[in-house]
Point group: C2
Chain length 210, copies 2
Protein backbone atom coordinates (compact mmCIF):
# COMPACT_ATOMS: atom_id res chain seq x y z
CA UNK A 1 0.00 0.00 0.00
CA UNK A 2 1.24 3.46 -0.94
CA UNK A 3 -0.08 6.28 1.24
CA UNK A 4 -0.49 9.97 0.46
CA UNK A 5 -0.65 12.39 3.39
CA UNK A 6 -2.02 15.90 2.84
CA UNK A 7 0.02 18.01 5.21
CA UNK A 8 2.32 20.96 5.81
CA UNK A 9 5.43 21.17 7.95
CA UNK A 10 4.06 23.44 10.67
CA UNK A 11 1.11 21.17 11.48
CA UNK A 12 1.60 19.07 14.57
CA UNK A 13 -1.64 17.26 13.81
CA UNK A 14 -0.28 16.19 10.43
CA UNK A 15 3.00 15.30 12.14
CA UNK A 16 1.21 12.71 14.28
CA UNK A 17 0.32 10.79 11.11
CA UNK A 18 3.60 11.47 9.31
CA UNK A 19 5.62 10.26 12.29
CA UNK A 20 3.56 7.07 12.48
CA UNK A 21 4.14 6.39 8.77
CA UNK A 22 7.86 7.04 9.10
CA UNK A 23 8.34 4.96 12.26
CA UNK A 24 6.56 2.09 10.49
CA UNK A 25 8.74 2.58 7.39
CA UNK A 26 5.56 2.81 5.32
CA UNK A 27 5.65 3.79 1.65
CA UNK A 28 4.19 7.30 1.77
CA UNK A 29 4.50 10.69 0.20
CA UNK A 30 3.42 14.09 1.44
CA UNK A 31 0.97 16.23 -0.54
CA UNK A 32 1.60 19.86 0.34
CA UNK A 33 -1.42 21.87 1.53
CA UNK A 34 -0.76 25.60 1.52
CA UNK A 35 -2.51 26.34 4.81
CA UNK A 36 -1.07 29.84 5.14
CA UNK A 37 -2.60 30.75 1.79
CA UNK A 38 -6.03 29.31 2.64
CA UNK A 39 -5.35 25.86 1.24
CA UNK A 40 -7.55 24.02 3.78
CA UNK A 41 -10.61 26.17 3.03
CA UNK A 42 -10.86 25.96 -0.76
CA UNK A 43 -13.93 24.23 -2.23
CA UNK A 44 -11.63 21.58 -3.70
CA UNK A 45 -10.07 20.79 -0.33
CA UNK A 46 -13.39 20.91 1.54
CA UNK A 47 -14.70 18.34 -0.92
CA UNK A 48 -11.90 16.05 0.25
CA UNK A 49 -12.27 16.92 3.95
CA UNK A 50 -15.33 18.79 5.15
CA UNK A 51 -13.53 19.59 8.41
CA UNK A 52 -11.20 21.93 6.50
CA UNK A 53 -8.07 20.63 8.24
CA UNK A 54 -4.97 18.59 7.72
CA UNK A 55 -4.07 15.77 7.99
CA UNK A 56 -5.92 13.86 5.33
CA UNK A 57 -4.69 10.37 4.48
CA UNK A 58 -5.35 8.67 1.17
CA UNK A 59 -4.97 4.90 1.36
CA UNK A 60 -6.22 3.29 -1.82
CA UNK A 61 -9.92 4.16 -2.05
CA UNK A 62 -10.05 5.33 1.56
CA UNK A 63 -9.81 8.97 2.56
CA UNK A 64 -9.38 9.49 6.29
CA UNK A 65 -9.28 12.69 8.33
CA UNK A 66 -8.69 13.45 12.02
CA UNK A 67 -5.24 12.40 13.20
CA UNK A 68 -6.72 10.01 15.80
CA UNK A 69 -8.68 8.14 13.13
CA UNK A 70 -5.59 7.93 10.91
CA UNK A 71 -3.44 6.65 13.78
CA UNK A 72 -6.06 4.06 14.71
CA UNK A 73 -6.30 2.90 11.09
CA UNK A 74 -2.54 2.74 10.55
CA UNK A 75 -1.97 0.87 13.82
CA UNK A 76 -4.45 -1.74 12.67
CA UNK A 77 -3.23 -2.07 9.08
CA UNK A 78 0.51 -1.71 9.73
CA UNK A 79 0.38 -3.78 12.90
CA UNK A 80 2.44 -1.46 15.10
CA UNK A 81 1.86 0.93 18.01
CA UNK A 82 -1.69 -0.34 18.50
CA UNK A 83 -3.50 -1.89 21.48
CA UNK A 84 -3.08 -5.54 22.40
CA UNK A 85 -6.44 -5.95 24.09
CA UNK A 86 -9.71 -4.14 24.80
CA UNK A 87 -8.38 -2.45 27.92
CA UNK A 88 -5.42 -0.99 26.03
CA UNK A 89 -7.72 0.07 23.22
CA UNK A 90 -9.84 2.09 25.66
CA UNK A 91 -6.77 3.53 27.36
CA UNK A 92 -5.33 4.65 24.02
CA UNK A 93 -8.65 6.22 23.07
CA UNK A 94 -8.76 8.03 26.41
CA UNK A 95 -5.41 9.68 25.77
CA UNK A 96 -6.22 10.47 22.14
CA UNK A 97 -9.31 12.31 23.36
CA UNK A 98 -7.43 14.06 26.15
CA UNK A 99 -4.82 15.13 23.62
CA UNK A 100 -7.38 16.56 21.22
CA UNK A 101 -9.45 18.26 23.90
CA UNK A 102 -6.93 19.49 26.41
CA UNK A 103 -3.32 19.28 25.20
CA UNK A 104 -3.27 19.90 21.45
CA UNK A 105 -6.44 21.96 21.93
CA UNK A 106 -4.46 24.53 23.91
CA UNK A 107 -0.80 24.10 22.87
CA UNK A 108 -1.42 24.29 19.12
CA UNK A 109 -3.55 27.40 19.39
CA UNK A 110 -1.11 29.09 21.76
CA UNK A 111 1.78 28.37 19.40
CA UNK A 112 -0.17 29.62 16.41
CA UNK A 113 -0.95 32.94 18.06
CA UNK A 114 2.59 33.44 19.26
CA UNK A 115 4.50 32.30 16.18
CA UNK A 116 2.27 32.49 13.12
CA UNK A 117 -0.21 35.30 13.68
CA UNK A 118 -0.08 39.01 14.37
CA UNK A 119 -1.71 38.80 17.77
CA UNK A 120 1.08 39.13 20.29
CA UNK A 121 0.49 38.79 24.02
CA UNK A 122 -3.05 39.36 25.17
CA UNK A 123 -5.73 37.88 27.40
CA UNK A 124 -6.16 35.01 24.96
CA UNK A 125 -2.53 33.92 25.05
CA UNK A 126 -2.60 34.13 28.86
CA UNK A 127 -5.77 32.02 28.91
CA UNK A 128 -4.32 29.42 26.54
CA UNK A 129 -1.04 29.28 28.44
CA UNK A 130 -2.88 28.46 31.66
CA UNK A 131 -4.77 25.67 29.94
CA UNK A 132 -1.65 24.34 28.22
CA UNK A 133 0.24 24.22 31.51
CA UNK A 134 -2.66 22.36 33.14
CA UNK A 135 -2.66 19.74 30.38
CA UNK A 136 1.14 19.38 30.45
CA UNK A 137 0.90 18.84 34.20
CA UNK A 138 -1.59 16.00 33.74
CA UNK A 139 0.65 14.39 31.12
CA UNK A 140 3.79 14.82 33.23
CA UNK A 141 2.14 13.09 36.19
CA UNK A 142 1.05 10.27 33.91
CA UNK A 143 4.59 9.79 32.57
CA UNK A 144 6.23 9.85 35.98
CA UNK A 145 7.37 6.28 36.56
CA UNK A 146 6.37 5.19 33.06
CA UNK A 147 8.43 4.96 29.88
CA UNK A 148 5.46 5.71 27.66
CA UNK A 149 1.82 6.65 28.22
CA UNK A 150 0.64 3.03 28.44
CA UNK A 151 3.76 1.74 30.20
CA UNK A 152 6.83 0.14 28.65
CA UNK A 153 5.73 0.18 25.03
CA UNK A 154 5.14 3.20 22.78
CA UNK A 155 1.70 3.41 21.18
CA UNK A 156 -0.24 5.79 18.98
CA UNK A 157 -1.25 7.60 22.20
CA UNK A 158 2.38 8.77 22.50
CA UNK A 159 2.53 9.73 18.82
CA UNK A 160 -0.59 11.83 19.22
CA UNK A 161 0.39 13.54 22.48
CA UNK A 162 3.87 14.52 21.26
CA UNK A 163 2.53 16.08 18.05
CA UNK A 164 3.19 19.72 18.98
CA UNK A 165 5.85 19.24 21.63
CA UNK A 166 8.93 19.18 19.39
CA UNK A 167 8.21 22.77 18.33
CA UNK A 168 9.90 23.65 21.59
CA UNK A 169 10.83 27.26 20.87
CA UNK A 170 7.56 28.23 19.17
CA UNK A 171 5.03 27.74 21.99
CA UNK A 172 6.28 30.30 24.48
CA UNK A 173 6.45 27.63 27.16
CA UNK A 174 8.94 24.79 26.88
CA UNK A 175 7.47 21.30 27.35
CA UNK A 176 10.95 20.15 28.43
CA UNK A 177 10.49 22.09 31.66
CA UNK A 178 8.31 19.18 32.80
CA UNK A 179 10.93 16.54 33.63
CA UNK A 180 8.95 13.40 32.85
CA UNK A 181 7.79 14.91 29.56
CA UNK A 182 11.38 15.83 28.72
CA UNK A 183 12.60 12.26 29.23
CA UNK A 184 9.65 10.87 27.28
CA UNK A 185 10.26 13.23 24.33
CA UNK A 186 13.87 12.02 24.25
CA UNK A 187 12.67 8.41 24.33
CA UNK A 188 10.36 8.98 21.36
CA UNK A 189 13.10 10.85 19.47
CA UNK A 190 15.35 7.80 19.97
CA UNK A 191 12.92 5.45 18.19
CA UNK A 192 14.40 4.23 14.88
CA UNK A 193 13.12 6.41 12.05
CA UNK A 194 12.15 9.42 14.19
CA UNK A 195 12.45 12.78 12.52
CA UNK A 196 11.48 16.31 13.48
CA UNK A 197 8.30 17.64 11.79
CA UNK A 198 10.32 20.20 9.85
CA UNK A 199 12.40 17.37 8.38
CA UNK A 200 9.41 15.22 7.55
CA UNK A 201 6.85 17.43 5.79
CA UNK A 202 7.03 20.17 3.14
CA UNK A 203 6.43 23.88 3.54
CA UNK A 204 8.95 25.12 6.07
CA UNK A 205 9.85 27.91 6.31
CA UNK A 206 6.45 29.51 6.06
CA UNK A 207 5.65 29.67 2.34
CA UNK A 208 4.89 33.40 2.12
CA UNK A 209 8.16 34.35 3.82
CA UNK A 210 11.01 35.15 1.44
Amino acid sequence: MKYALHCFAQSGNAYKAALMLELCAADWEPVFVDFFDGGTKTPEYLALNELGEVPLLEAGELRLSQSGVILDYLAETLGRFGPENAEERREILRWLLFDNHKLTGSVSTLRFRRTFSEHGEDEVSAFLETRAKGALGVLDRRLTGREFVLGERPTIADLSLCGYLYFTDEIGIDPRDWPSIRAWLERIAALPGWRHPYDLMPGHPRPDTP
Copy 2:
Protein backbone atom coordinates in the same frame (compact mmCIF):
# COMPACT_ATOMS: atom_id res chain seq x y z
CA MET B 1 -25.06 -4.55 35.15
CA LYS B 2 -25.62 -1.57 37.42
CA TYR B 3 -23.68 1.56 36.45
CA ALA B 4 -22.60 4.52 38.59
CA LEU B 5 -21.84 7.79 36.81
CA HIS B 6 -19.84 10.47 38.62
CA CYS B 7 -21.32 13.69 37.33
CA PHE B 8 -22.98 17.03 38.01
CA ALA B 9 -25.89 18.66 36.24
CA GLN B 10 -24.01 21.48 34.55
CA SER B 11 -21.51 19.17 32.82
CA GLY B 12 -22.28 18.59 29.17
CA ASN B 13 -19.50 16.02 29.05
CA ALA B 14 -21.17 14.01 31.80
CA TYR B 15 -24.50 14.51 30.03
CA LYS B 16 -23.16 12.67 26.97
CA ALA B 17 -22.79 9.53 29.12
CA ALA B 18 -25.96 10.09 31.18
CA LEU B 19 -28.06 10.54 28.05
CA MET B 20 -26.66 7.34 26.56
CA LEU B 21 -27.50 5.41 29.73
CA GLU B 22 -31.00 6.85 29.83
CA LEU B 23 -31.75 6.29 26.13
CA CYS B 24 -30.64 2.68 26.58
CA ALA B 25 -32.82 2.34 29.70
CA ALA B 26 -29.75 1.13 31.57
CA ASP B 27 -29.78 0.60 35.32
CA TRP B 28 -27.66 3.53 36.52
CA GLU B 29 -27.35 6.03 39.30
CA PRO B 30 -25.57 9.37 39.42
CA VAL B 31 -22.83 10.05 41.97
CA PHE B 32 -22.69 13.78 42.60
CA VAL B 33 -19.30 15.45 42.16
CA ASP B 34 -19.22 18.94 43.64
CA PHE B 35 -17.23 20.55 40.81
CA PHE B 36 -17.94 24.11 41.91
CA ASP B 37 -16.38 23.33 45.29
CA GLY B 38 -13.27 21.69 43.81
CA GLY B 39 -14.68 18.17 43.80
CA THR B 40 -12.78 17.07 40.68
CA LYS B 41 -9.39 18.13 42.06
CA THR B 42 -9.33 16.42 45.46
CA PRO B 43 -6.73 13.68 46.02
CA GLU B 44 -9.56 11.19 46.44
CA TYR B 45 -11.11 12.07 43.10
CA LEU B 46 -7.76 12.27 41.28
CA ALA B 47 -7.07 8.73 42.51
CA LEU B 48 -10.22 7.67 40.66
CA ASN B 49 -9.54 9.81 37.56
CA GLU B 50 -6.13 11.35 37.06
CA LEU B 51 -7.62 13.68 34.42
CA GLY B 52 -9.51 15.51 37.18
CA GLU B 53 -12.75 15.63 35.24
CA VAL B 54 -16.23 14.20 35.03
CA PRO B 55 -17.64 11.94 33.73
CA LEU B 56 -16.32 8.82 35.37
CA LEU B 57 -18.23 5.59 34.86
CA GLU B 58 -18.07 2.66 37.23
CA ALA B 59 -19.17 -0.59 35.62
CA GLY B 60 -18.39 -3.51 37.89
CA GLU B 61 -14.62 -3.55 38.26
CA LEU B 62 -14.10 -1.12 35.38
CA ARG B 63 -13.58 2.59 35.88
CA LEU B 64 -13.74 4.59 32.67
CA SER B 65 -13.13 8.28 32.03
CA GLN B 66 -13.43 10.50 28.94
CA SER B 67 -16.95 10.69 27.58
CA GLY B 68 -15.87 9.25 24.22
CA VAL B 69 -14.43 6.15 25.88
CA ILE B 70 -17.57 5.70 27.96
CA LEU B 71 -19.83 6.09 24.91
CA ASP B 72 -17.73 3.61 22.95
CA TYR B 73 -17.87 1.11 25.83
CA LEU B 74 -21.61 1.49 26.41
CA ALA B 75 -22.40 1.19 22.69
CA GLU B 76 -20.54 -2.09 22.65
CA THR B 77 -21.93 -3.54 25.86
CA LEU B 78 -25.50 -2.23 25.55
CA GLY B 79 -25.65 -2.88 21.82
CA ARG B 80 -27.14 0.46 20.78
CA PHE B 81 -25.96 3.62 19.00
CA GLY B 82 -22.72 1.97 17.92
CA PRO B 83 -21.15 1.35 14.51
CA GLU B 84 -22.24 -1.50 12.27
CA ASN B 85 -18.95 -1.86 10.41
CA ALA B 86 -15.37 -0.61 10.33
CA GLU B 87 -16.22 2.38 8.16
CA GLU B 88 -18.90 3.54 10.57
CA ARG B 89 -16.55 2.97 13.49
CA ARG B 90 -13.97 5.31 11.94
CA GLU B 91 -16.63 7.86 11.04
CA ILE B 92 -17.95 7.88 14.62
CA LEU B 93 -14.42 8.28 15.97
CA ARG B 94 -13.84 11.16 13.58
CA TRP B 95 -16.81 13.06 14.94
CA LEU B 96 -16.01 12.21 18.57
CA LEU B 97 -12.57 13.73 18.03
CA PHE B 98 -13.95 16.76 16.20
CA ASP B 99 -16.40 17.26 19.05
CA ASN B 100 -13.71 17.11 21.71
CA HIS B 101 -11.25 19.29 19.82
CA LYS B 102 -13.37 21.86 18.09
CA LEU B 103 -16.99 21.91 19.27
CA THR B 104 -17.07 21.01 22.96
CA GLY B 105 -13.54 22.44 23.19
CA SER B 106 -14.90 25.91 22.45
CA VAL B 107 -18.60 25.85 23.38
CA SER B 108 -18.11 24.45 26.89
CA THR B 109 -15.41 26.94 27.76
CA LEU B 110 -17.35 29.85 26.32
CA ARG B 111 -20.43 28.86 28.33
CA PHE B 112 -18.39 28.44 31.49
CA ARG B 113 -16.92 31.91 31.21
CA ARG B 114 -20.26 33.55 30.44
CA THR B 115 -22.46 31.68 32.90
CA PHE B 116 -20.37 30.25 35.73
CA SER B 117 -17.36 32.51 36.19
CA GLU B 118 -16.74 36.13 36.99
CA HIS B 119 -15.02 36.95 33.72
CA GLY B 120 -17.61 38.74 31.63
CA GLU B 121 -16.95 39.78 28.05
CA ASP B 122 -13.32 40.04 27.08
CA GLU B 123 -10.89 39.04 24.34
CA VAL B 124 -11.12 35.42 25.48
CA SER B 125 -14.90 35.19 25.11
CA ALA B 126 -14.64 36.83 21.67
CA PHE B 127 -11.93 34.34 20.69
CA LEU B 128 -13.97 31.37 21.93
CA GLU B 129 -17.13 32.63 20.25
CA THR B 130 -15.36 32.77 16.88
CA ARG B 131 -14.12 29.21 17.32
CA ALA B 132 -17.52 27.95 18.52
CA LYS B 133 -19.26 29.49 15.50
CA GLY B 134 -16.74 27.88 13.17
CA ALA B 135 -17.35 24.45 14.70
CA LEU B 136 -21.13 24.91 14.66
CA GLY B 137 -20.86 25.83 10.98
CA VAL B 138 -19.00 22.61 10.21
CA LEU B 139 -21.61 20.57 12.09
CA ASP B 140 -24.52 22.39 10.44
CA ARG B 141 -23.13 21.66 6.98
CA ARG B 142 -22.71 18.02 7.94
CA LEU B 143 -26.32 17.77 9.13
CA THR B 144 -27.78 19.47 6.08
CA GLY B 145 -29.58 16.71 4.20
CA ARG B 146 -28.96 14.17 6.97
CA GLU B 147 -31.14 13.13 9.89
CA PHE B 148 -28.17 12.36 12.10
CA VAL B 149 -24.40 12.70 11.79
CA LEU B 150 -23.94 9.30 10.15
CA GLY B 151 -27.18 9.42 8.16
CA GLU B 152 -30.57 7.99 9.08
CA ARG B 153 -29.65 6.42 12.39
CA PRO B 154 -28.55 8.16 15.62
CA THR B 155 -25.20 7.04 17.03
CA ILE B 156 -22.92 7.95 19.90
CA ALA B 157 -21.45 10.63 17.60
CA ASP B 158 -24.75 12.52 17.91
CA LEU B 159 -24.88 11.98 21.69
CA SER B 160 -21.37 13.43 22.00
CA LEU B 161 -21.86 16.41 19.71
CA CYS B 162 -25.13 17.51 21.35
CA GLY B 163 -23.64 17.41 24.85
CA TYR B 164 -23.53 21.17 25.43
CA LEU B 165 -26.12 22.29 22.91
CA TYR B 166 -29.25 21.98 25.07
CA PHE B 167 -27.87 24.67 27.41
CA THR B 168 -29.23 27.04 24.80
CA ASP B 169 -29.47 30.19 26.90
CA GLU B 170 -26.13 29.78 28.70
CA ILE B 171 -23.65 29.93 25.83
CA GLY B 172 -24.25 33.44 24.57
CA ILE B 173 -24.85 32.11 21.09
CA ASP B 174 -27.87 29.93 20.34
CA PRO B 175 -27.10 26.68 18.50
CA ARG B 176 -30.68 26.75 17.20
CA ASP B 177 -29.73 29.67 14.96
CA TRP B 178 -28.11 27.04 12.69
CA PRO B 179 -31.17 25.50 11.02
CA SER B 180 -29.88 21.98 10.44
CA ILE B 181 -28.58 21.85 14.01
CA ARG B 182 -31.94 23.05 15.29
CA ALA B 183 -33.82 20.28 13.47
CA TRP B 184 -31.28 17.69 14.62
CA LEU B 185 -31.53 18.79 18.28
CA GLU B 186 -35.31 18.37 18.02
CA ARG B 187 -34.85 14.91 16.50
CA ILE B 188 -32.59 13.83 19.37
CA ALA B 189 -34.97 15.32 21.94
CA ALA B 190 -37.75 13.21 20.39
CA LEU B 191 -35.90 9.93 21.03
CA PRO B 192 -37.73 7.83 23.67
CA GLY B 193 -36.15 8.46 27.06
CA TRP B 194 -34.53 11.81 26.20
CA ARG B 195 -34.22 14.26 29.06
CA HIS B 196 -32.55 17.62 29.49
CA PRO B 197 -29.24 17.53 31.44
CA TYR B 198 -30.79 19.49 34.31
CA ASP B 199 -33.44 16.77 34.66
CA LEU B 200 -30.97 13.92 34.48
CA MET B 201 -28.10 14.74 36.84
CA PRO B 202 -27.85 16.20 40.35
CA GLY B 203 -26.53 19.59 41.38
CA HIS B 204 -28.66 22.16 39.62
CA PRO B 205 -29.00 24.95 40.45
CA ARG B 206 -25.38 25.60 41.16
CA PRO B 207 -24.79 24.20 44.65
CA ASP B 208 -23.47 27.40 46.23
CA THR B 209 -26.46 29.45 45.03
CA PRO B 210 -29.32 29.77 47.50
